[in-house]
Symmetry: C6
């Protein structure tokens, strides 16, 4: 059940599996179980969901959650049209109707009433109650709910309640191993692997500093940015500073230390 | 008055009674008393209510409560239709009108004004005042209000007021005894009882850690997920990690300890 | 002026007076003074107001106050009907217009702007200003405002301001004496007085624990529930646990102690 | 300029002046200066404003301020009528238009934006800007703004800003001297002065306890309530408890001490 | 460029300049720079802006800022008229359109989104973007933005951000010197200078107490009130208490000390 | 790729590059990467964005962010027109449609839901989902998102989340070197460079005090104001006080020290 993540059509996003995550996603989908993805910023969770949705031939709806996202933003609202209030489906409702994947990115950020629509969708009933219209949608077998969050941000106020967490099969994500990350960054940026290698090496050193001087390690996305700027002709040190150091810290001392570290590694 | 919870029609959810809870539910319904269910996540409270409603032949309305659930979400609202404001019943009002069971899951999460509609429904008047329309519905004898909450989450801000609690007959729920839980998980997942046994044993060890390293013990629902993934062909250790360890904790140390514990018990 | 609270018509709720409260209510009504009832949960304040309203032949409007109850919820609002905004009276306004009793239960829970409509109604002006319509209703002599609260819940944030409190004649309520409570519970539940006696004895012991292990003593309402379950055939110990212990506490230690106490007293 | 506060017509509320407050009110009105009344609950501030308004032949508009009172509640709002938004004057705007007294009771309770409409009304411009309509009303010479508050409640969050306070001439109020208070209570309740005297004596002792055991001394209003209940036939001790002790405190110890004190003074 | 602040027409408010503030205002206006006025309550900032606007022949729009003043209150809103939403300009938009002075009094009180409309108006673009309509107004050369605040109130929550402050030329105001203040108070109240002198002397002593016993010194406005009451026939000590002591403090000790101080100075 | 920031047409704002920032902006635009500008108040970030937009021939939309700026303020809203709700694009949506630069100034101030519209725009999808209309706009290659903030203000509550930061290439800005700043100030104010030099020298001394006595160093904008006032005829010391000292501090001690420092440097 190993799925080769080679991008044949330009529409299917490339994804390099690290472990059993593709099999787990597919099994969860087959068994109609909801899925929770945990992991740091920019390690490829969103990409993984896009890849799996395309591979399984399912339409994908992505919602970035935030402090003010309420249940009605997911299910739908009444709008005034021609003097009538007309119901307009929200993204979750549309995903349930069409039987695709609904991906709620950083779900812990959302308002608490979101749990109301997730709970009946994530137990054996698999229904989406639309209380405002009185409708109760039954999710088709092909519908799958996927949520993600970054455990590094979890706070007392923003943790998932156990009664919500315990409704999901969960996968922990981490950054790619070195050789794979070089491949990915080179493919996305166009910069040859040999020039990408010191950038990845530098990123790995920065990630080791997480929790000490840095709140979060550098993401694969920033590595792609950096390689892309170099490929466009910027001097590597300028690119590393702009794409791998300035986005990570505002502390003058930390920045100076990182610049020194960069000089040792780059060129 | 012992009710055999054997599921003859596929619509009636199976339920395995542990004590006198079925008799208590039926007596409370006969005497028109409201019921409060207390217990941990995923121990079967929702299933119990579904089972009893079907057994007594009553329609069931379930509302998952949350931080922003207000009285009007239960009773109803005026909506604009064709230039007129039209009253639309909420789920509690519909349940009162049709004389069924209304189940408010995790009622402590709801906003405080919910008490307004619950109080007159839970004393000898058994009325639901709809202040916006001026109506006052009398609940028919067959109507029953059931609420639940998880005492493990109770905080100072989120406790039920004594003036609300003291309006309910209450039942404490806990996890199933070992043999019963093996039966249930095997029946729900399709995995043979012999393969389910080590999973349940592992779950019972995890539950003993509650309050020390884990906020909440593993639910029967996650056990069903895990058995279901194994039944679909995933290696048991992968399934245990995805369905019984990752959903419980984000702490690297705790996760490592649980993985080690799992290796001792599984396979 | 002693009023016999024997319930001749089924509509008049029975009430057993303990002291001078019936005379005080009637005098306050005659002299057009507003009344404040203080006392613990389930000691009969609501029943007392129903009883007196019926006895005096006055229509009764009851409003359970809560965190989000605002002045407009009491006075009324403009609603959109047929393209026009139409004024709809709130429950307090209706009570003033019809000259009945308006009972605001747990008034300290309401929002602070409620004081605006209560102040001019509770001084010698006895008017209800409806600022949104520009109307100023004069309360007829038969109108009476009654409010209640439970001093046990009073907190710094939720206390009545002296400028509001000092507008009311006040009565302190407490639980019934033993013999009276046995009579009431037996009459309401149908269980013979001899079987009710140990339940009341147990309740009195629980009330003595208030402030130590229990936030609030057991109410007469729960006693009626318990007797009602026993009358319907449940074993007394099951009924006591479900109606008199589980509704009071979630603490395992406290519950165990109460169960032990119950075993000594019941049967 | 001493104004005899004898009530000839039943509509003019009686008022017994204590010092120069009547002259001050009239001079401030003549000189078009706004007035601030400070003093404890129920000492007669509202009565004083009614009396002076009647004496000067001015219509009086009273607004009880509260936590949610906003500028628009004073100035006015647009309402939807027949498909059009129609402006409806608020109470302050009506008072300015008709050139009467506008009395904002407990002004510190109101929301901060109320200062916006008070500032231009209380400097030499004497204008009321209605920003929503673009109108700017000039207050006629007969218009007077009076505000009050109880310094006993002042907290850091609820103090008047100096930039607002320094726009008012201010008068400090206190309770009436003994002989005057007996006269007033007797006149309002119908109870002979000889029976009122021990009640006033008891009230004066309670007021001396303010700040020690009582948050606020007993008001003249409660004295009138108490005398009124006695005049209607209630035993004095019952009346004193219901009208002068229960409204003041919920503390069992304090109540017991006050009851003992009452027994020494009453009868 | 010294401007004589003699009031020829009754419409031009008198103003007595203390330093270079008139020249600074005029130069800032000529150079199209926004102006920030700092200073205590009632020292004449509002009067100064009125005076300069009249002197330069510019229409003046004044807005008293407060906790709930939002950007839309300054720029404008859509209102419903005849079934259409119609845009209605706010005071700042009107001032920009007519090219006059817009004065935001106590600007730190306003909500943070006010900065959005102030920033593009206070850099070299001098534009007012109306995002709701999509319009972008260019301020004519004669438009000037003036804001004020009282540094004495500045708190951590209510300070101007440096990114806003550094967009203004700023002037510090203080109270008038003694001789000038006597002139002003006498002219405004009608009381002869000889009778005003001890009042001003007393005010200067009170101002020296600022920060010790008094939150803020007495304003020139209150001096005018006091002189006005005396001119109308009130005894000076009554006038001083009502206009210069009661508005400053509620502390009995401080009031007693100030009354004693007044007796030494007045009469 | 060095871009000479000489202003040939009056519409193109002059900009003096300090390092590689112009090349970085252009490369980021070519590679379709979003850009983050960090730096103190008034150091030229806004000017830089205007300059680059003009140079690249792109329309520029600027939004000053604030506490209440929500996603809908950027994307658009439904407005009521002729009885219909009509969608009106917000500034970000307009910028995406026309393929220009959208600059969000002080983006950390905005509400958290803004991240929802920024995330899909700043990864490889480059889409703007308009959930209310169900539309999903693909950004054309010429569209560029630029955001800025001042690291000096960063607080725990107002920091950019790493998951947002790591989506941007970042540039750190600082004040101009002395000779360049003299040129700029002289050009903008009209004052000869010789007279500007001591002002810049004084500004540099003030900036060295940042973090000790001053919250923020003086901006180039205030230097231009000061030079402009001097050029209009104000005495230099008056201009320095009004434009470079009063806007920086309200502390009497700090102001006195700065005035003394000014006297040593100016004239």
């Amino acid at each position: 059940m190993n799925i080769i993540a080679r991008n044949l059509q330009p529409e299917i996003p490339a994804y390099t599996p690290l472990g059993n995550e593709c099999a787990l996603f597919e099994t969860a989908w087959t068994r109609q179980l909801p899925l929770l993805l945990k992991g740091p910023t920019g390690c490829g969770k969103t990409r993984f969901v896009s890849h799996m949705s395309e591979t399984l031939g399912l339409p994908l709806t992505t919602v970035s959650c935030h402090d003010d996202l309420a249940a009605a933003d997911l299910t739908g609202r009444f709008l005034l049209k021609g003097g009538e209030t007309v119901w307009v489906d929200g993204p979750l409702t549309r995903a349930v109707r069409e039987g695709g994947v609904c991906y709620l990115d950083e779900v812990v950020e959302a308002r608490k009433d979101v749990a109301v629509v997730l709970h009946p969708l994530t137990d054996d009933r698999r229904i989406l109650p639309l209380e405002r219209t009185g409708e109760e949608l039954e999710a088709p077998p092909s519908f799958m709910l996927v949520v993600s969050y970054n455990p590094g941000y979890q706070s007392l106020l923003k943790a998932l309640k156990p009664s919500t967490r315990q409704r999901f099969v969960a996968i922990e994500f981490d950054f790619l191993p070195k050789a794979r990350e070089i491949e990915v960054v080179s493919a996305e940026s166009g910069l040859p692997a040999a020039s990408v290698e010191p950038l990845v090496e530098f990123a790995r050193r920065l990630r080791a500093l997480k929790g000490h001087d840095l709140e979060e390690g550098v993401s694969t996305r920033l590595l792609v940015y950096c390689a892309s700027l170099i490929d466009a002709g910027l001097p590597p040190r300028d690119a590393v500073r702009a794409a791998m150091i300035e986005p990570l810290t505002d502390e003058p001392d930390v920045r100076a230390a990182l610049l020194e570290l960069a000089q040792a590694v780059i060129r």
